[in-house]
Amino acid sequence: MFQLRDLRRRAALCAAALGVVALVGCGGEPEAVDSRVVVLGFDGMDPVLARRWMDEGKMPHFSRLAAEGHFQELGTSNPPQSPVAWSSFATGKGPGEHGIFDFLRRNPETYTPNFSISENIPPDRFIKLFGLQVPLGSGEVINRRQGEAFWVKAERDEGARASVLRIPVTYPPDDIHRMLSGMGVPDLLGTQGTYTYYTTTRLGDAGSSTRTVRVRPDRQGRIESDFEGPPDPLLESGEPMRVPLVIEPAEAGARVRLGDDEVALEPGEWSDWIRVAFDVTGPVSVTGTVRLLLVQGYPSPRLYVSPIQIDPENPAVEIASPSGYAAELVEDIGLFHTIGMPEETWSLNEEHISDAAWLEMEKTILAEREAMWYETLDKNDSELVVGAFVQTDRVTHMFYRGLDEQHPRHEDTAPEHRDEVEWIYREADRILGETMDRLGPDDRLIVISDHGFAPFRKAVHLNRWLVDNGYLVLEDGATESDVVFSNVDWSRSRAYALGLNGLFLNLAGREGQGIVAADEVAALKAELSAGLAEWADSQTGEPVVRRVFDGEEAYRGPERGDAPDLVVGYHRGYRASWQTTLGAIPKPLMEPNRQKWSGDHCIDPALVPGVLFSNFTPEVAISGIRDVWQLTRRQIREDES
């Protein structure tokens, strides 16, 4: 259907253009491409699971691709985290060169973690006027990934037009034929996905991804509140911009009015997209889009409001290349999620929304991604087409508990939700089938995943281990520490953990309050590695850590200075606790993972390889994800010749 609309739109555009100047190519269909290189990613697709369901006949298209072409395991990056692996995929380089070592990067001066992928540099010049601050210039967003992506190189060196959709770590967008940015695109608040949760009853503690708003219905059940947007950029006070939000009882559930829109929802029902306009002081407004979920109805309604997406038709920041591409897409396929990590998983982890509601959202996102992927393939105007579906990764993270009978949350996962991982693999197979149907005889198809998966049964408080073994020292009297090492005595601490796999020495001259001298580094790393290797789970006797990598040996390149001193490769079933990633130190050493985020891959990379399929036999041996760069380059050059 969107194809029809697409044609109509193009016809209209051409007609308008012809009125001014004759335009090449407007006479008929866009110039077709003879042969293409199509790279399709399924984030987190695990070779063992894929093979299982291929063998059971549940993934016939993958089976066909493997039989007629090629299938192998694909080594992942170290550490095996999506931003690291996708950066290696794009650049053909290791973290020492592309500079992405973890989801989080630390500031050694302050020991604070920050998002590693992109950085928003605010405008540094303002004029202050009547209590307002008026920015001079618009600030800057940078992609922290170093190195050149193969699609950029292909356009420049081979003149191959590239369409790149939703590949992680592509924000801000590269200036290529067509790009829609993926992981790294923030929400309108500048975060990686903050939802808002209106509740009439008190909740327990919620993470920082949540804005909980306690509201009270009046005698008629009417609730009047506000929905907060980003801070007004013109106000010095940083006051957020707001739109009114009203919830009222309705026959089947509740009626919600947000800004100018009103929608009636039944419990468990999602709204369509609602556009929210936040009025900046003065005549300007910033728009974003949200979806609402009525989590439960009266008498104690709860309303979930999704992270505020950058409005693709009126983007507050560039999320696509060329800049009008996102708006074009809306005309073709309707509004869609623009945030880099579209599946907001924390609400499910916090159990603010149900399995069913989350899966409903996931199906919507999957449909959006499919629509834009097929549209790009159908346009057939790019020699190189690259796209990723991250839904395989997200569903596996959240529903591994259904697959893993040993998981602490297996038993209370409803029987109808125990096979969701299989469901998303079948969906991947269906998408592969649709993709293959759209390929020409000379098109080359490469299907990859960035890593595999493992159960996440126990959360490991690595910083507690460091405290117990005397490497990290709490302030006198303190027994635990909040995030960012709030109670740590740095003058007596030699090592600390931050991020999902990173372990850092408190190095003199590098860390803000470093004490470890350069000549002590080697011995300390050896001591830590040996200690971690001996660490056994006190309940089972099993080793917790499978391998510890020395950052100096694991990484080469100019960015190595940002690398962890040691990279901890956990054993299957274990993973760093959420607290450890942010520098918090609770009392226990290890805890059963009772959260729905039940599968993970941030362990020893040897345990979680990804997959590589192709409809041709690779000419060279491919061992790891960074080799895909060479493989792809080779196909493009062949096309060229």
Binding site: P217, S300, P588
Partner: protein, 508 residues
């Protein structure tokens, strides 16, 4: 969206406290412009119901306290801001409602003081002792309540904090402190917190033994004062508990009389304002049926003790003042414990910190305007007058989902957060809240509800944080019935049993 509860507080005030903390005592030149001429003696009688406090008067008898009562100003319609100690005492010591001072709250859908450690008074809120200390007063607290030793903020501003158990020792330590400072040139603030009515009736075996030792006439006299339906069966567990409680309360009255006599003998009453209050009352199945029907108490028993509901048996408390220049009076104007701090400062000629918009009002004027006529008990004193439409609030449930209440114009509205249910009562006609009235028949229903809505908005979106608590303090709190399910070490604040195993004092 609601503003954070404490954003209106400024650090400036705290800085000024620090700046003038000790200096006035060292050099007269540094004496602050504002200073107190009078002493302040505060007496907290923990867990005393309004009606139980007046048993001698109700039964046409007298005790050593009766004479002191005649000389006092009795604020006969005083409402506590919370049904248990931490949020209520925090209100007395800060002049703010629980939503504003942040003390004694739970960041949980269902509060359970057996298992969760409640939050402390926000560090940004000044306490009465800090204010009085900043104007040069010497300050001391003697408390039988272990919460005073748990970093809740109660201790802030006191030069000395003494923990003593039993009325005798509290009184003795208080008097010793006074004697030791008899020659000081500066006025003092002495705070005494008595726990004698709090928990003796929790021990059923001891209660039974005590009741069996009562002579028959005394038992009959006390039984007649029991709230319905506790003593419908005089042998019932709840009646035994009530009788023990009444006995302990009467004994506490005697202890307070003794304290006042000793203070008087020292001449301390001539230049002091003396304030006696109870932080909350106690339920003896007054609303058992309603509580059982709602069935939201996580301990699985209903309608006994305090902290689990906002009915009058927990909120209507004694508040009495002895002021050297004012004789015995009966002040029927409804007041809240949130008014205590502004009233005291008013009497003492000290301003409230300007940075804070205090919700309380000084009742000093109302007391002074009142005709001199000593308080005489009558059941009328349970009734709240129609004529007064100021709104008095309460909240701070310790066992169950949060509730909030407002009293105004003789009506009371209790709102249940968990299911948005509302109970309206006519306190002018039905002061024991036997029969809820249909909100649609209450002219002021929407006004009361809107007022509760505003009160609700005072709750910030900030986390209410528990203090770090030593094992010693946890053990002592367990000794008086709190935190029964909290482990003394390891992961505190975590649930350690599944609720059904809770025994507390057993199903009473």
């Amino acid at each position: 969206m609601r503003t954070k509860g404490l954003v209106f507080l400024s650090l400036g005030f705290m800085l000024s406290l620090v700046a003038c903390g000790d200096s006035p005592r060292n050099a007269d030149s540094a004496r602050p412009s504002e200073h107190a001429e009078q002493n302040l003696i505060m007496i907290a009688v923990d867990t005393v119901r309004w009606d139980t406090w007046w048993i001698p008067e109700r039964t046409n008898s007298e005790d050593a306290f009766s004479g002191w009562a005649l000389e006092s100003q009795v604020l006969s319609r005083t409402v506590s801001a919370a049904p248990w100690t931490v949020p209520s005492v925090s209100t007395v010591l800060t002049g703010l409602y629980p939503s504003q001072h942040g003390g004694g709250l739970f960041d949980q859908p269902v509060a359970n003081l057996d298992k969760h450690i409640p939050s402390a008074i926000s560090g940004a809120v000044p306490t009465l002792a800090e204010i009085l200390s900043s104007v040069g007063m010497r300050t001391a607290a003697v408390s039988a309540h272990p919460w005073f030793d748990a970093d809740y903020g109660f201790e802030r501003g006191f030069d000395e904090l003494l923990l003593r158990s039993g009325a005798g020792k509290v009184t003795q330590s208080g008097l010793e402190w006074l004697d030791a400072h008899a020659g000081d040139q500066y006025p003092y603030f002495l705070y005494l917190h008595y726990m004698d009515a709090h928990d003796q009736h929790l021990d059923l075996t001891a209660s039974r033994a005590a009741v069996e030792r009562m002579d028959a006439a005394e038992r009959e006299r006390l039984t007649a004062t029991a709230p319905e339906p506790a003593c419908e069966d005089p042998e019932a567990v709840m009646c035994i508990r009530y009788l023990r409680y009444a006995q302990a309360t009467l004994s506490l009255r005697e202890s307070i009389a003794h304290l006042l006599e000793e203070l008087n003998a020292r001449g301390a009453l001539e230049d002091s304002v003396v304030v006696l209050y109870s932080d909350h009352g106690e339920a003896f199945h007054d609303h058992h049926e309603r509580a059982e029907a709602r069935a939201v108490d996580p301990r699985g028993f209903y309608g006994f003790g305090h902290g689990q509901s906002l009915y009058q048996e927990q909120l209507h408390v004694p508040l009495m003042i002895w002021h050297p220049e004012i004789g015995g009076k009966d002040v029927a104007t409804p007041v809240s414990l949130v008014d205590v701090m502004p009233s005291i400062l008013d009497w003492m000629g000290i301003s409230l910190p300007e940075q804070i918009d205090y919700p309380g009002q000084s009742f000093a004027g109302a007391v002074e305007r009142q005709e001199p006529r000593a308080f005489a008990w009558s059941a009328q004193s349970l009734r709240f007058p129609r004529s007064e439409d100021r709104e008095l609030f309460a909240s701070g449930i310790a066992y169950g989902p949060e509730q909030m209440a407002v009293i105004s114009g003789g009506y009371k509205l209790i709102w249940h957060e968990s299911d948005n249910a509302r109970e309206f009562y006519d306190l002018s006609e039905d002061p024991r809240e036997r029969n809820p009235v249909d909100g649609d028949t209450v002219a002021a229903a929407d006004r009361l509800d809107a007022a509760l809505g505003e009160y609700f908005d005072w709750f910030g979106s900030q986390d209410y944080l528990p203090p770090e608590m030593s094992e010693d303090v946890v053990e002592r709190l367990k000794g008086v019935g709190y935190l029964q399910g909290v482990e003394s070490s390891g992961e505190r604040g975590e649930s350690v049993s599944n609720g059904e195993e809770d025994e507390e004092a057993g199903e009473p």
